[in-house]
Amino acid sequence: MNFGYHFAEDFIIFGFAFIALITLFTFLLKIYFFIEKKIKNKKKLKIKHYLMRFMHPQQKFSTKRFLYRLKRLDIFLQVINEFDTTIPGKHWEEMRSKLITDVMIPLAKKAINSFSWYTRYYAAQTFCLMPAPGNDHYLIKLLNDSVPLINLRGAEAALLNFSEPAMNRLVARIASEDWGKQIIDLSVFDYDKIDKGNFFEKKLRSSKDPMIRAVCYEIMLRYPQRRIQWDITPDVTSSNIDLKIAAIKYIAYVDREAAIPLLIESLKNPLWKIRLIAIHRLGMLHADSAIPQIAACLDDSDLWVKMSAIEVLKNMGKEGDKALRSSGIAPEQIASDVIQFNTWW
């Protein structure tokens, strides 16, 4: 019986000690991060003061040793972001370039192997700041990272640096992803300022993989139009739905005359996705000749196809409006914003 009581006593003491330890540890963590934030702000001020000293155009910027000692890519990135918006001008651009090349890129190359994903992310952000040729190896590492956010930044960096091995890796990765992830990765091409259509056209000519071909078409939609100088028919009639859709979208983008009959034909496709794309593209092409076929889609079994047909007809002038009214649907009753569903296609 004594043992039971002693055990109970020891157990209770242990329990409270355990609680105290856990609470203390949590407090210490909070204090650690509080201090860390203070230190970070101090370092940021130091860097800003240092850079401000060289702001006068007569001053020659020097990347002194202390900048290397700081080794904080996140702080450098914040400072650059602030200075980009507050201090425009050629002198800052030259300083910025030197800071990135001499200090940040070497740090980023080391940071890519870091255990912490935050550090790797900052490395990826660094490569997005300006083109730095000869870093294919690092860009591919970023594209192969397990963290999707880092992949995204890696994709941006690959585009900025336009390294062929990195671009090939990027395309292969997008081709292996599901639709949800593709939406994100393809979006980096929306902000690409340099036309890389030649590269993807070359890839279309050489690659037989249907998914890679589909990705190439999707990417080329984001660049200026170029004449189709390869046989696109096998892609348009492909059994691979993604390739079929991508090829149809591309034809609609570059060759209006060839696209319209193809799109009208696609309105009868059993897959709702293809009917939806076809209606959407016919609307973008203002294909008045397709109004009767689009009007037939007002009875479609799929809501999204139906709503897309309504929205397209609404924007097709008098003929479109007439087709809508004769169907019995009053356009003003329909919430047009529902058609925002279509913006992902």
């Binding site: 039971g4 856990i22 407090f27 963590l29 935050y118 949800g180 999204w304």
Partner: protein
């Protein structure tokens, strides 16, 4: 009789020691999660990191049955979320109150004809499909009452986004809940599901979907449930997250990959604990396919939900949970100690089966033995004290540690005086409330096995 009682006592003691050890491991595992929360708080704003277009569209699915008092707050809280690419599907699951009327009036709903494809088989007949004339991204499906799982499956068939969130109709989301869940997904590879933390809404002041004042409800039943939820979400789920993923995430707020849920056939319509079942099923499916995946939890994505206010409602809820969790566990029993399922099969599943689900049998047996021993005059006080101290002491210490951790870190409650109340509740939880829940769960367990036996015969 003495020999039998002694033997059982030893078995129970070792069981409790093993269980306590597992809880210590879980608590230790949950601490890095706190570290990551602090670290993440500086970089968690996904809108600054990603361009708007790059965000994956999400559908929030709300299944509502007789939720006329709560549905508007739930929907408004979703609209107030900072995530830009969002749609809402509300499934009116045969409500007999004014849920549908309120929705029609508030959002100016118009009925349209739409054929919903049967990607996942559903049972309930669709009575109407509505969209809002205001141009907001809201769809309402009116169907006959066939349960939450079937309602979710119906919404799944309509959902066209790559991601969806299940949200209870009596829950309110914090404005950054969806962003934080998506951020978890963007920072972990191959994420299929992300569970969020759930706090208790009762006692808080809500206005138009926004929680103005967050405070703990001081009524005993709500305070006790607050204690339970806190232990569950801030310790258990955080711990499992670091150990490879748990089996239980809140149906009140979980983000899913649409394709993955379709691949496993949607939600189980025979099971009221569909949230538990879908996660277990996803684990099993992905392990069988040998595909890399992540099922995670983030305490940063927060929903606040209503809980039962009377003993009768609580009793009914816990009976359903116990019965359906048991059913789900036995459905996937092939995972038990099966190395093919990795840590889920070797540790997580056995823990949930023997510790969480069937542990109630051991606890009930312990109480029963005490009473039996006293009746026969063979009660060994030493054993009684020992078992009680372990039972009460361990849970109390763990919960108190979680309470302190919660107040230092996340601190969702605005009122400082909630902490002493919480600690008092923690100390007294095992004197009555816990025993009541044990009774309730043992009833559910026994009746489940009896029905199964009768059905088998």
């Amino acid at each position: 009789m003495t020999a039998i009682v002694n033997s059982l006592n030893w078995i129970i003691l070792w069981y409790l020691i093993a269980l306590s050890f597992c809880y210590v491991v879980l608590l230790a595992a949950s601490i890095p999660d706190i570290f990551y929360r602090f670290a993440e708080s500086e970089t968690g704003d996904i809108k600054k990191i990603l361009h708007i277009k790059a965000l994956r569209p999400v559908t929030v699915i709300i299944s509502a049955h007789n939720e006329e008092n709560n549905i508007l707050d739930t929907i408004y809280s979703v609209f107030k979320n900072t995530y830009p690419e969002m749609h809402i599907i509300v499934v009116n699951d045969g409500s007999t109150d004014n849920t549908l009327t309120i929705l029609k009036k508030t959002f100016n709903l118009i009925k349209i004809n739409n054929l919903i494809p049967q990607i996942v088989t559903t049972k309930g007949k669709i009575k109407g499909y509505y969209i809002s004339h205001y141009g907001i991204k809201l769809t309402v499906i009116d169907k006959e009452n066939t349960g939450k799982s079937d309602s979710l499956n119906t919404a799944l068939n309509t959902c066209r986004t790559p991601l969806f969130i299940t949200l209870d109709a009596d829950s309110v989301l914090e404005p950054d809940a969806i962003v934080n869940a998506i951020f978890y997904m963007m920072t972990h590879e191959n994420t299929l599901a992300v569970g969020g933390a759930v706090y208790i809404l009762n006692g808080c002041t809500v206005k138009n979907g926004e929680i103005i004042e967050k405070k703990m409800d001081r009524r005993p039943l709500y305070a006790l449930q607050t204690c339970e939820y806190m232990r569950s979400f801030l310790f258990s789920r955080s711990g499992w997250n670091m150990l490879g993923g748990g089996l239980s995430y809140a149906g009140a707020f979980t983000l899913f990959n649409h394709r993955a849920v379709i691949d496993v056939g949607g939600f189980d319509t025979e099971n009221l604990a569909q949230d538990f079942e879908i996660i277990t099923h996803l684990h099993e499916y992905m392990r069988q396919k040998k595909k890399p995946y992540t099922i995670g939890y983030t305490a940063a994505a927060v929903a606040w939900t209503d809980v039962p206010g009377t003993m009768k409602e609580l009793w009914k809820q816990r009976i359903n949970w116990q019965r359906d969790t048991l059913r789900s566990m036995l459905l996937h029993v092939r995972m038990l100690f099966n190395p093919r399922y990795g840590i889920i099969g070797m540790f997580t599943y056995p823990f949930f089966l023997f510790g969480e689900t069937l542990g109630v049998v051991v606890e009930f047996t312990a109480y029963f033995l005490v009473v039996l021993s006293w009746y026969y005059g063979i009660l060994d006080t030493y054993w009684a004290i020992l078992l009680f101290v372990i039972c009460w002491g361990f849970v109390t210490f763990l919960t108190m540690a979680t309470a302190f951790m919660s107040f230092v870190t996340y601190n969702k409650y605005h009122r400082l005086s909630d902490l002493p109340l919480l600690l008092l509740v923690v100390l007294t939880e095992s004197f009555g409330y816990r025993q009541l829940l044990v009774l309730c769960r043992i009833k559910a367990t026994v009746s489940y096995f009896i029905k199964k036996l009768l059905f088998w015969k």
